[in-house]
């Protein structure tokens, strides 16, 4: 057997490397197609947002901007509703993320301690809430009863903790903090809260960074809770305002007053939508390449959950 393989190896080698070569070409071709298919819609939206409205509505734009203009962005910058939404979303994302991360650490650290009496039943209480829920209507009634309906806190407190992220944090604390460290600290008279603040948190920077990213993106993109818990337009996050314009197609007529003809109005309406998509998604997509390193790492921590 061994001799046979050894003998036939040269001819095999050449034939196989040819099939491998063909395979590599197909494989690379496949990946290039995927790359283009994923990239194209984003590129198209950006190009269209910088094009002349008439060119957009008459279908001349398909890859690069036609008759470059920043008209739509100028209009958007003048439109106060967008800025209210932007400011609200920034508030929900920063305060919400702060609350989320605090709550996640508060829940995850004690539950990660092996010596906590009753940790399994307590953990089960959390996990069960992920598997079963009372449903939308009882939650809605609860939010009303505790007086959060139509306040900013309605977007922060009901979703203050993601059990999934808590589980990831627990497995991080369990696997990357050595038991000896805790014992040494306890010998030195360190209390549990001191240990959490002075030792656990500084050692958990990567997991906290990842949680911040996921929670913040979640808040920025939040739509459902705002839809059901808010009525006051002054409190609306950006996504709710975007919904009115992008999906329900209700564009404020003041934004279109410059356009004279019907065609120009229709073109401007579409142009504004493209520009809004860019303005709303830009911040997240711009931050993401910088935190990509952490992001992949965080997913790995999630993947090896015990």
């Amino acid at each position: 057997m061994a001799v046979k393989t050894l003998f036939s190896r040269p001819s095999h080698h050449i034939r196989e490397s040819r099939t491998d070569f063909i395979f590599t070409i197909f494989n690379n071709g496949f990946l290039i197609i995927i790359f283009l298919v994923v990239l194209y819609p984003m590129l198209y939206v950006v190009s269209a947002s910088f094009s002349d409205p008439i060119a957009v509505s008459s279908g001349q734009v398909w890859l690069w901007p036609v008759n470059f203009t920043t008209k739509a962005y100028v209009k958007i910058f003048e439109y106060s509703r967008i800025w209210t939404g932007y400011a609200n979303s920034i508030f929900y994302a920063t305060v919400g993320t702060l609350v989320n991360v605090t709550m996640t650490v508060l829940a995850a650290y004690p539950l990660s301690r092996k010596d906590l009496f009753g940790k399994n039943p307590l953990l089960f209480l959390f996990v069960f809430s992920m598997m079963f829920s009372g449903g939308l209507i009882p939650l809605y009634i609860t939010v009303n009863q505790v007086g959060l309906y139509n306040t900013r806190w309605a977007l922060i407190i009901p979703g203050a903790l993601s059990v999934w992220n808590m589980i990831i944090a627990i497995s991080f604390f369990r696997t990357s903090l050595p038991q000896e460290l805790l014992e040494a600290a306890q010998l030195d008279g360190c209390s549990d809260i001191q240990y959490l603040i002075q030792i656990v948190l500084p050692l958990s920077k990567p997991i906290i960074a990842v949680m911040c990213l996921f929670y913040a993106v979640g808040h920025w993109n939040e739509f459902f809770n705002a839809l059901i818990f808010l009525a006051n337009k002054e409190l609306f996050p950006l996504q709710l305002i975007l919904r009115d314009i992008l999906v329900a197609n209700t564009v404020d007529l003041n934004l279109l007053e410059d356009a004279k003809t019907m065609a120009a109005k229709a073109g401007m309406r579409d142009l504004l939508k493209f520009a809004l998509i860019v303005v709303a998604s830009g911040p997240v997509l711009m931050i993401y390449p910088f935190v990509q390193k952490y992001f992949v790492k965080g997913l790995m921590i999630g993947a090896i959950k015990g």
């Binding site: 393989t5 196989e16 491998d20 590599t24 494989n27 994923v38 819609p41 984003m42 939206v45 509505s57 008459s58 279908g59 734009v61 398909w62 709550m103 508060l106 004690p110 539950l111 010596d115 906590l116 009496f117 959390f126 996990v127 809430s129 079963f132 829920s133 009372g134 449903g135 939308l136 209507i137 009882p138 939650l139 809605y140 009634i141 609860t142 407190i157 203050a160 903790l161 549990d192 809260i193 993106v217 993109n221 739509f223 059901i228 996504q239 975007l242 992008l246 999906v247 579409d270 493209f274 998509i277 709303a280 998604s281 997509l285 993401y288 992001f295 992949v296 997913l299 790995m300 993947a303």
Partner: protein
């Protein structure tokens, strides 16, 4: 060594005599940990378990403004009404159909993508493909649906521009009920493939390189190595994810379906979550109890499916969710 032995023995004794007093002492020692847990537990009670308790309005005839606990008890009336209504079978077919379609398409594609990407050596090309492929994950549902409306637009959307340039008649994509599910599923593939592939790429990174070297010596082609080494290497991860996804098939997310709905496609696009919202919270005749009954039905089926999926997972892979 000499000193550890007695301590293990004494430990055993302590475990044997584990009385309430010992437990109490231990709990007192870790009072700070319970203090830390207090806030999350209070949150859990108010925003998770209290609504579960409140789900009993599904068995009552509760009107907005009434006292929840004094509304007349009607037993299973709301459930029977739902099962007998025309909406029941339509919602079930739409919900399960949409999930299964998503699963059949959305499950294998990230695997294929990960296997393919794993063939590349670290390079600028690999990095660019990876970075671009995750990016759509960060786009919000509202923006995604807004983009769909623009790209599939009848007049200026590039898809219809392409169709007209090929001499075909443009299609009103969003206005056709029969296209709703395909648009929903394939735009989901666009948005989530790169992100879902990450977990498979992680699994592929743990495949022993010695296996590949040995196979190369035996003259295995790249395709053969993918089929016989890489694919088995990610199988456990893939099976686990598949079973977990099967446990979720009754839960179709609200946002994207709701945003993609229009009067022309509701026949197909109405799913349980959107229907609960419409019956319970919008329109003149909000019916809390009826909507809560549909929601509770959904939660119970979801729990049963998840437990069943986990049983299956335990049987097949020895791993378990809890």
């Amino acid at each position: 060594m000499e000193t550890t032995r007695p301590s293990i023995l004494s430990c055993k004794k302590v475990v044997k005599r584990n009385t309430w007093a010992d437990i109490w002492r231990q709990m007192k020692r870790s009072w700070q940990l319970y203090l830390l847990l207090a806030l999350p537990l209070a949150w859990l009670a108010v925003f998770q378990y209290y609504p579960m308790y409140g789900a009993q309005i599904a068995f009552r005839d509760f009107l907005p403004g009434d006292n929840m606990w004094q509304a007349p008890w009607v037993g299973l009336e709301n459930f029977v009404r739902f099962f007998q209504s025309v909406m029941f079978s339509r919602l079930m077919i739409n919900t399960l159909g949409l999930s299964l379609y998503s699963l059949v398409v959305g499950f294998p594609i990230p695997i294929i993508f990960a296997l393919s990407l794993n063939q590349l050596r670290a390079s600028l090309f690999k990095q660019s493909v990876q970075m671009v492929s995750y990016a759509p994950y960060f786009i919000s549902t509202v923006v995604l649906v807004g983009m769909l409306l623009q790209i599939l637009d009848l007049r200026h959307g590039p898809v219809n521009l392409l169709l007209t340039s090929m001499g075909k008649t443009p299609i009103l994509f969003m206005g056709q009920a029969k296209l709703f599910q395909s648009i929903y599923v394939w735009s989901g593939v666009w948005q989530y493939t790169g992100f879902s592939a990450v977990i498979y790429l992680a699994a592929l990174a743990t495949v022993d390189p010695a296996l590949h070297e040995a196979a190369m010596v035996d003259g295995a082609s790249r395709l053969q190595r993918i089929w016989h080494i890489d694919l088995p290497g990610i199988m456990p991860t893939a099976i686990t994810l598949l079973i977990l996804n099967m446990g979720q098939i009754i839960n179709v997310g609200f946002e994207k379906v709701y945003l993609m709905q229009n009067p022309l496609n509701t026949q197909i696009s109405e799913v349980i979550s959107t229907y609960v919202y419409k019956v319970g919270l919008i329109g003149g005749i909000t019916n809390y109890s009826y909507a809560a009954a549909i929601g509770l039905f959904n939660s119970v089926i979801g729990l049963i499916l998840l437990v069943a999926a986990n049983q299956l997972l335990k049987k097949l892979t020895d791993s378990s969710l809890w």
